[in-house]
Amino acid sequence: MAVPVIMPRQGQSVESCIISEWSKQKGDKVEEGDVLCVYETDKASFELESPASGTLLETFFTADDDVPVLTNIAVIGEEGEAIDEFLPENANATEEPEQPAQPAEEKYEDTSAATEQPQKEQPEPAVSQESDTDEFTRISPRAKSYLQKIGLSQNDIKISGSGPQGRILEQDVINHIEQHGKPTPTAAQAAREEKSGMPAEGTGLGGQIRREDLGKTAAPAASTTPAQVLEEGADFTVKKLPNIRKIIAENMHKSLQNSAQLTHHLGADARKLLNLRKQVKAAQAEGTLQSNITLNDMICFAVIKALKKHPEANSHFLGDKIKIFNKVHLGLAVDTERGLMVPALQNADDFNLEGLSNQLKKIANDCKTGKIDPELLASTAASFTVSNLGAFGIEIFTPVINLPQSGILGVNTITHRPADLGDGTIGFVPHLGLSLTYDHRSLDGAPASRFLQAIKQEIENFEHSL
């Protein structure tokens, strides 16, 4: 039975996505989960996996086509199966005779026609054919269109993109222009006509790229954090901030300026957690457990349970009102090469411990590979956040709230403290430090402390059988 491949909806505001390139061609055998194509929004690039195993019977759109979300873009099935019922209204099947390739120049000028009939547009040879061999030629249609607007073509801009396999996205071009300057009218025309690369920086007014700058040391294939050196002295280097750094800086500063946050510290007996962690390791060694359930997963699980009992902490403080969540959308601070990212795991309270463990790993991994849905990175996507610095041996810290959330839990390292072992003997027990920062506008000290106690109790009474 043939199944359609549907263009997913990426966030509420996204109405259409552009197919960047097909990873599989019509007629290819595919397995469920194989990447069929790469598509993108204005913010990010995604891989579309095959919903079934079989043959890619038909593709209804070509690379560079702008496809409305929830439209069928391809069909998977057995060879010979009929595909007609899946035909979308506005697609062009790939059998359509190839149009003669137009020179790039003419195409740029005829943008009105291109918008009216996006499905007729032919993929740029440079993208579809050379993309496997030259990472610099991988560029998204949105990025290309942005370049056109400022009088450039993809050949002018030698940057490495943040999309899959270094594909250049619109945001990369915007960042590039911001960092390296916009070309002067003459430089833009010269770059286009002479196919000379954009330089690492412009030497003109306000960093404008001048004609004589063209072709001078193009920006190197940037690392994930392209930090442009602005000034180098004998004993210092001044670098431009990458965008993500600017955003973090702004958010953190705003949080401290615009809230009444303070931190309470409390320790929890971690014997049960450590015991379970031992069991997990043993079960994994035996092969009876798939999920590598970490201490952090267990702590998050405990936090979710505590949040369900203290909904006032599972909230957004909105100035004159408070939004209390019935579900727990757990934010997790993730350290990536590009900087701190805090993705939200939506409906985290729906998962059991293994499920939670798997889901947390997935969103953390998506952040590291740049595939995370940008909407999940918004501070409003999470109702509460956990930040764990225990691995660094941190014993106490004051995490900063992601406004408008009411709180964030900092998880510290495990130390040993003397404690009553229950029979009047004093011994050393492992002690997990918990630092709860809360917004005093939202919560008072006593309820915040009660919530922190609840987390402690969940941790100390952690019961789970593998």
């Binding site: 002067t184 009218p185 010269a190």
Partner: protein
Amino acid sequence: MEDIFDLAIIGGGPAGYNSAERAAQNGLKAVVFETNRLGGVCLNEGCIPTKTMLHTAKLLDNARDANKYGLIIPEASFDYPAIYNRKNKVIDTLVNGVTMRLKKHQVTVVNQKANITGKSNGNINVEAGGKNYQARNLMIATGAAPFIPPIPGLQRKNILTSKEILDLQEAPESLVVIGGGYIGLEFGSFYRSLGTEVTVIETLDEITPGMDKEIAAHLRKDLIKRGITIHLQTKVVEMQGKKVIAEKNGERLEIEASEVLVSVGRRPNVEGFGLENLGVLVENGAIKTNDKLQTNIPNVFAAGDVNGKSLLAHTAYREGEVVVNQLAGCQDRMRYHAIPGVIYTNPEVASVGITEVQAQKSGMDYEVKKLPMAYSGRFIAENEGKQGHCKIIVNKKYNQIVGIHMIGGVCSEMIYGAAQMIESEFRLQDAEEVIFPHPTVSEVIKETIFAFKD
């Protein structure tokens, strides 16, 4: 322990005083060393006094032409001591202005001779008046001085430079100007208006070397029309008292003059303040700098005439600002391709970008359009019987505007707009979108731009 300054500046001229103020605006602690009055050559013995005097000369010229504009001024004449005093008054006003600005910004001004003594802990030590000053950065802005060529018989007491000529107490009967550059021509133009017999001697085949040839020729003809004698390709070989002996095409010329002005160029001041104690690199008599005005020592900068790049006050201002911007953490660099050049003679000349000769030499495929200033209604209204021109040079490859040259009218006041076009690499089609106010003389630029469509 004494305070450490962020920036020490040796020289209180345009590079120095302007950067001190900019540094203070950026929260940097600055000290300026200047033995004379603040303002440098520009304010005290250059741009400002000459322009003050030239304005009087232009008013006088206009008064003599009054009948062309329907005015009756029976006898236009001048009062030299009054011109002289007014010049000094203008200088005083401006020097006081600079002094007040630096005071307001809490810049330390040391009215003592500065001597660089060396480095300690990476900081620069400057000694002045028996006191040591430490600074994290040093800007050398010591300027330049008139160059006196080695001519047999030439004695300092018999000649004037641009400095001494400002102290003349009366207009000389006759003046020989050795050197046909802008400084000599401006003085020549001024004294000619006052009735002095002026003779200009230039070794090259045209006056104002470096200016566009057509514009220079136009200026030369206008000056000759005004009664100035100009000898081109003429070399001064000897001086006997105030008698100038020169050779022109193998012929010997002897010119007796009441005063002789030597204006053959200026040399950077690189000696006498301890430059050698830091090992700052001097090349061809000027401090070598990069486009960030850094010398071979990273925290030592050289701005203004002393680096020999472009001996103009407005270049110095900008160079100083480039230095301060870097110290304040902003990326900046100096560009020399769009610096306007102005000659304040009557008529005025203003230009920016490359000349036609430079375009030819570079092998560029270029196109030139030249329109008379009469294309501007305002020019006709205000310049009875006079002529002017606007000449634009375009690199045909992308129709990029690479040079704009003007003579006539108030072109000194409108050249900055042309500089902006060249700085921003405007093509003709970009410049066509610029709106010029009407009626102004500047509209001739617009007309010349559209002339490329013919």
